[in-house]
């Protein structure tokens, strides 16, 4: 029998980026807020000290900062005719756990989506006609516009001290920035990072071909920064251990380095770690969430009542918890009905290796978001007429740090091991760079999340099942981007290049990107979305669901900037409207 605990005003489930943002906003509004985090406390000096943080084996290959599949995983398959099998080891994506979540080990690539990204269906229909969107492509407008989110993007960028160069200030195109971006109210809080040789070479080649290269917006600090909460971040030292690692330098924005030092001191905030929420409990009407059930490290069960519940876990957990709690109608792909699990999407990536003979590139000098990119082929920044796909992605060189277990690019024709391989690796390591393409994935009727009929987690609950594959739209788009990247690579006048296009079905094994989206999408119609435009559950109005689970499809950018902007947008609606008159906001 679960022990019942005293009620709180607001309960936050999951304590990563969105959990920290919501807790900060709701405590500012005067609420008593409790956050429940399944993992442990994590902090810079104890857990990512610069004396041992740069340990590639421990953190990347042995997954020390990630979710362990032994505790929780999901099953995967490419289509509904296959039997889903568990992701037994991490591979394609790396969900986080513990305080700070995946925001601990992100690269810091901090983007805004394009204004047209938020109007995916209406914009593409208007420009290319109804026939441009295949029948089984289930893309939707978001129900929120770029203009509405702009102040919230701005807020997050100033919280984090994003380093970059504006390309569009209040409608005026700025030299050196991204000319395709939506208008910004003001410049980035920090100047771009210093570029090493590889991104400089990429930018030079791209420029010579008429593209508009610009510095990747970065949550790695280009200089010391004090954010609006008074929290200080240090300058990035370009050590090359960002993605998959915690930053020992206080130089990468995370909940720990931007919000927690202030939030943790508030008298109306409390955190429980090692508290894993297993269910959101509804009242008899099924229209109100009354409490959550959680399990502590000893396996004891508790019931925690709350007036307002905000689901802030990673997208996969958000969707699974909704399914397990029977909140919202589960998506039925055969009938294309129901909402929870609908429109799961991912991203599609490819690369082109560039091997120089006469240039030493020192690729180990890096940072998660150190790079130059072009946006000419992202979203609807180019004419898609006759191309057979919609959407796009960015192309760039991002020097995240060539860590040696992970990075051994060798020219085409080199054997996979032995003396020849060793020789090729020794010769090319310092002389090689890679161009990356980072492409959108549209939502599709055949791609969805539901509960697995067979496999169970450590508590005996069904695992979530992911059914996903790339469609023709994604392959055509990615091939297009890869060709464009290869042309830029050629213009770099290197010894040789090697293109690595993304072929075949989605594969759970090689790491691609931790940019899973959808499953509890936002929208304006309760028949096709799980949450309204304020991220409020249509079915249970005192429940809000944050995160990339709200994305109706996945644009060609890294998601964190938009995840955070949506969190601030939702928090404002809660503060200014919901708390005054609790009930449906839309």
């Amino acid at each position: 029998m679960a022990e019942k605990l005293p009620s709180v005003d607001a309960l936050v489930i999951g304590f990563g980026w969105t959990g920290a943002i919501l807790a900060q906003e709701l405590t500012d509004a005067g609420l008593n807020v409790l956050a429940l985090e399944r993992g442990n406390w994590r902090d810079t000096p104890t857990d990512f000290a610069p004396t041992f943080a740069q340990d590639e084996l421990r953190y990347y290959w042995r997954h020390e900062l990630f979710q362990y599949p032994a505790h929780e995983t999901l099953t995967v398959r490419n289509n509904a005719s296959q039997v889903a099998l568990p992701m037994r080891r991490l591979g394609s994506f790396l969900p986080g756990t513990n305080v700070g979540g995946a925001g601990i080990h992100w690269n810091g690539q901090s983007w805004r989506f394009l204004p047209s990204d938020f109007l995916a269906r209406s914009h593409n229909t208007q420009r290319y006609g109804k026939s441009a969107i295949p029948d089984d492509m289930t893309i939707q407008d978001w129900g929120v516009t770029y203009g509405e989110l702009e102040p919230h993007y701005d807020r997050f960028e100033y919280l984090c001290g994003i380093s970059g160069k504006a390309g569009n200030l209040q409608g005026q195109i700025q030299a050196g920035g991204n000319p395709f971006e939506g208008p910004r109210a003001r410049e980035f809080p920090n100047p771009p990072m210093e570029m090493t040789l590889p991104p400089a070479l990429f930018a030079q080649a791209a420029q010579s071909m008429g593209y508009k290269p610009f510095p990747q917006p970065s949550a790695n600090m280009s200089r010391a920064y004090t954010n609006p909460l008074g929290v200080q971040l240090g300058p990035c030292t370009y050590c090359g251990f960002c993605e998959k690692f915690g930053c020992g330098n206080y130089a990468k924005a995370s909940a720990q380095t931007t919000i927690l030092p202030v939030l943790m001191r508030k008298p109306n905030f409390k955190l429980r770690t090692e508290a894993e929420v297993t269910k959101i409990n509804l009242d008899a009407t099924g229209k109100r969430a009354v409490s959550v059930t959680f399990i502590d490290a000893a396996g004891r069960e508790y019931e925690q009542p709350a007036e307002l519940i905000v689901l802030c876990a990673y997208i996969l957990h958000n969707v699974r918890l909704l399914l397990l709690s029977k909140i919202g109608k589960p998506y039925d792909a055969a009938a294309n009905e129901g909402v929870v699990g609908r429109n799961y999407a991912y991203q599609i990536t490819s690369s082109v290796n560039v091997f120089f003979e006469d240039k030493i590139l020192n690729p180990f000098i890096g940072a998660g978001a150190l790079g130059m990119v072009v946006d000419d082929y992202n979203g609807d920044n180019f004419d898609h007429a006759g191309l057979g796909f919609i959407g796009g992605g960015y192309i760039g060189n991002i020097q995240t740090g060539a860590r040696p277990i992970e990075t051994h690019e060798v020219p085409k024709g080199t054997p996979g091991w032995g003396s020849q391989w060793k020789k090729a690796l020794a010769h090319n390591y310092l002389r090689t760079m890679s161009l990356a393409t980072h492409g959108a994935v549209m939502s599709h009727r055949g791609n969805f999340l539901d509960l697995d009929p067979t496999y169970r987690d450590v508590y005996g609950r069904p695992l979530m099942r992911m059914t996903f594959d790339y469609t023709d739209n994604e392959h055509r788009m990615s091939d297009f981007l890869t060709d464009k990247a290869a042309a830029i690579a050629k213009a770099m006048n290197a010894r040789e290049i090697k293109a690595n296009p993304r072929k075949g079905s989605w594969d759970v094994v090689p790491y691609q990107t931790t940019h899973n989206t959808g499953g509890a999408i936002m929208g304006t119609d309760p028949r096709t979305s799980a949450v309204n435009r304020y991220l409020q559950s249509w079915d249970v109005p005192n429940l809000f669901v944050m995160g990339a689970s709200a994305f109706p499809q996945n644009p060609g950018y890294n998601p964190t900037g938009t995840v955070a902007a949506l969190a601030y947008w939702s928090a404002l609606a809660i503060r200014e409207r919901y708390l005054k008159a609790p009930g449906p906001l839309a």
Binding site: L57, A70, M87, R265, I365, A426
Partner: protein, 256 residues
């Protein structure tokens, strides 16, 4: 920023409860770690440090026959040559031994519940064998198959060319072993060899930072700021590991 300049405040932790001599139920205090208002749960001296450095002598998990196999195989994957030490000289067999002896070898972070199915290639690792079990079965079964072929009693006793031929057959999945999946075994062996050659020397491989020296990786350095704008210049500093460099630790000194 420093997490908190406040003086430490009393708080309920499991340790405090236990050391108090009696465990008294406190209203609302779950076994979950509760961080009270105003508190930062930061403990001096409680850093989540790496494991102690592997001592290189001997094997702890591999049997002599298994060790002979691993030494021979990793010597073909990354051979010693005019460029420098190979995987064996760099301690990769010791690295693999210690990894298999520990948490990694038991697959304790992986989902290892049934039912078991083979599935599609895109569904990834589905074998019931832990890494340690796969090495144990794979080595035994490859040695048996080599014995049946008749050129040598075991893989380690084959000529280098024959060893390469066998490794290629494993890699291409052309060998059918009784229980181990040949391709999966090869891929694990190759991945662990690369890990052992290029990971921090703390884990027993990459001895004298041989892997890092081979390619020019400067190791566990934490500040490249001054070198960011030196485009095209060769990085001048030697590699450094988490425990430092041999020349930082004078013989008989207390450092390290």
């Amino acid at each position: 920023m420093k997490p908190s300049d406040n003086p430490p405040q009393p708080r309920v932790t499991r340790r405090r409860l236990l050391t108090a001599g009696a465990v008294i139920p406190i209203a609302g205090a779950a076994a979950a770690r509760i961080v009270q208002p105003g508190e930062m749960p930061w403990t001096e001296g409680a850093a989540d440090v790496p494991p102690p450095a592997v001592q290189p002598a001997g094997y702890t998990w591999l049997t002599p026959a298994e060790a002979a196999f691993v030494e021979a195989a990793v010597s073909r994957l990354i051979p010693a040559d005019e460029l420098g030490p190979g995987a064996k000289e760099a301690g990769v067999p010791v690295f693999i031994d210690r990894q298999l002896a520990g948490e990694y070898g038991r697959g304790s972070r992986w989902y290892m519940q049934g039912p078991w199915g083979e599935g599609e290639k895109t569904q990834g690792w589905q074998t019931r064998m832990t890494p340690a079990a796969l090495y144990r079965a794979g080595i035994r079964e490859v040695d048996e198959a080599v014995g049946k072929e008749g050129r040598a009693a075991a893989f380690a006793k084959l000529s280098a060319d024959d060893q390469d031929r066998w490794l290629h057959q494993l890699e291409d999945g052309k060998v059918k072993l009784p229980t181990a999946d040949a391709k999966t075994f090869f891929e694990l062996l190759q991945q662990n060899t690369i890990e052992g050659f290029f990971s921090d020397p703390l884990y027993g491989g990459n001895r004298d930072m041989a892997g890092w020296k081979l390619i020019g990786f400067p190791g566990a350095r934490y500040d490249h700021t001054s070198f960011v704008k030196k485009h095209g210049e060769k990085y001048p500093l030697p590699p450094v590991a988490i425990l430092g460099r041999p020349d930082w630790n004078p013989p008989g000194g207390s450092h390290g």
